[in-house]
């Protein structure tokens, strides 16, 4: 563990700065088109569905489900042992890559479609990355 390197960190661009400002401040921010109502990710200052530039940034619920994943067994300098690289289907529609934390990194524990919620892992003063943890399904 002690020898792990920091994660490969993103360099925000003008188009993605709001997303990384959001994760730093504990919010998962998506974008929505004001003309066709399409919600999308990754960030861009226009709607990929209809081309409109009338788009807004909003704070997503942070809830999603486990869409698919692999458990990587090859060594990565930033990860300790086999780790899950996941695709999370967000409640608002878009899909994003992430890791699943607070969960055994095994096929038995990582069940497709299980509900997840976002947590933010601080990397430095500017960058926090959005990760997801399992949540108990409310009955």
């Amino acid at each position: 563990m002690a020898d792990l390197q920091p994660r490969p960190l993103p360099t925000p661009t003008p188009e993605t700065q709001h997303f990384w400002d959001g994760t730093r401040d504990g919010e998962l921010r998506l974008q929505r088109c004001l003309d066709c109502d399409h919600t999308y990710f990754p960030p861009r200052p226009f709607c990929p569905e209809c081309g409109s530039k009338r788009v807004e940034v909003f704070t997503a619920s942070g809830r999603g489900t486990l869409l698919s994943y692999v458990i990587n067994h090859r060594r990565h300098a930033s990860f300790d042992g086999p780790y899950c690289i996941a695709l999370v289907k967000l409640e608002e529609g878009p899909t994003m890559m992430s890791n699943i934390v607070e969960c055994e990194q095994t096929p038995e524990a990582l069940v497709l479609d299980m509900p997840l919620t976002v947590v933010f892992e601080r990397q430095n003063d500017d960058i926090s990355v959005p990760l997801f943890r399992p949540v108990e399904e409310s009955t």
Binding site: P8, V70, H73, L87
Partner: protein, 379 residues
């Protein structure tokens, strides 16, 4: 029928581990072999397309004065797309004789250019922080979803590798030729669950080159001409996480349907199929996205023996990226095998094959190119 034919085709003299040649020299070795295949020289070439290196490097190194160049570089299917673009160039008169080259020191890493990773691209911002590290962790990520949606089993996935090894066993140039079983595949070490080592492609050195010209000139060359019947290309997303449907490649569907329509053929006309297989799930996706199988039926089609030697639709008859060779951008080798099958010179020749369909993938389901080839008898 496009009126354009492949008149020269060759791989590098060696395949596998070639520590004494740079990547640029692998391009050149393949090109020189393709010249020998046709009787042409560099002075006869007026169009050049390549990926991995730039067309500028290739024309300079080989001594070509081009009036047409194409440096489309969208991963391993770039060479299928080069064929498509070369067809258009030859049809329009922008070029007469086009050379397409590939060389890659994937294993020995001799003289290999950097890829300029950076940290500000979308994939670098939104995938790399989570430990995505190359194709083994990204190309593979849709498959658990496919398994849940369509009931694909781990054993069926392993069967893809087993069947392709059967083909490789008939090919003296294949890297791995010994027969394997489903148990062997399942017992090989996990690379990225659910993928085992034997469900992932090789990493080797090699190259290949093609020479295309007008079909009416084709009879002037020593080899049986291979006619380009139809072509297609497409692209989707540089990020596997943004694939529209984890169970189907939009780029496969678009490129494949265009090539089949362009060729004016039906699925029943196809005698031989190549589907770029960087990983064991790709032939399954390819069979379905090309329309040879219904969604969810590709794995069963393979497990039932339809694609193995003697089956009704021979698939990846060189052994594929899983067993033959895979330098990183494998598409050139799939094209070479389609050419051999259409010439009637393949080590595992499909008797009477007259139409071959060759589907390439670029990146991780990021792009696709598709080429339909035929023999003299098909045109």
């Amino acid at each position: 029928m496009t009126g354009v034919a492949i008149v020269g085709a060759a791989e590098t003299t060696e395949l596998g581990r070639i520590p004494d040649a740079s990547q640029l020299q692998l391009h050149a070795d393949a090109a020189l072999n393709a010249f020998a295949d046709t009787g042409l020289t560099a002075k006869d070439i007026d169009g050049v397309a390549t990926a991995g290196s730039t067309p500028v490097e290739i024309v300079h190194y080989l001594g070509i004065t081009p009036r047409w160049v194409d440096g489309t570089s969208v991963g391993g299917c770039s060479f299928m797309i080069h064929v498509r673009h070369a067809v258009a160039a030859i049809q329009s008169g922008q070029a007469e004789t086009v050379l397409i080259t590939h060389g890659e020191s994937g294993r020995s890493q001799v003289g290999r250019g950097g890829r300029g990773a950076g940290t500000a691209g979308l994939a670098q911002q939104f995938e790399n922080p989570y430990g995505a590290m190359g194709p083994t962790t990204m190309f593979t990520i849709p498959v658990l979803r496919y398994m849940k949606e369509y009931g694909l089993t781990h054993e069926q996935l392993a069967t893809v590798s087993v069947v392709q090894r059967e083909w490789a066993g008939r090919n003296p140039r294949a890297s791995f030729r010994d027969p394997i079983t489903v148990d062997d595949v399942m017992a090989s070490r996990l690379i990225a669950y659910p993928f085992h080592l034997l469900e992932c492609c090789l990493v080797t050195d090699g190259g290949g080159a093609l020479i295309l010209t007008r079909a009416e000139r084709a009879k002037d060359f020593p080899q049986n001409p291979v006619h380009i019947l139809g072509t297609g290309e497409s692209a989707e997303s540089p990020m596997i996480s943004q694939m529209q449907d984890l169970c189907s490649s939009r780029a496969f569907r678009v490129a494949g349907s265009e090539a089949i329509r362009d060729a004016g053929i039906s699925h029943d006309d196809v005698d031989h199929l190549m589907v770029y297989d960087a990983f064991a799930h790709l032939p399954i996706y390819g069979l379905e996205d090309l329309g040879f199988c219904q969604k969810g039926e590709g794995a069963g089609f393979i497990a039932d023996g339809n694609t193995r030697p003697g089956g009704q639709l021979p698939l990846n008859t060189n052994g594929g990226g899983l067993s033959y060779m895979h330098s990183g951008m494998y598409g050139m080798y799939a094209l070479q095998e389609s050419v051999r099958q259409m010439r009637g010179t393949a080590p595992a020749q499909v008797p009477g094959a007259e139409v071959s369909l060759c589907l390439g993938v670029g990146g991780m389901f990021a792009a696709s190119g598709c080429i339909v080839m035929g023999t003299e008898a098909t045109v």
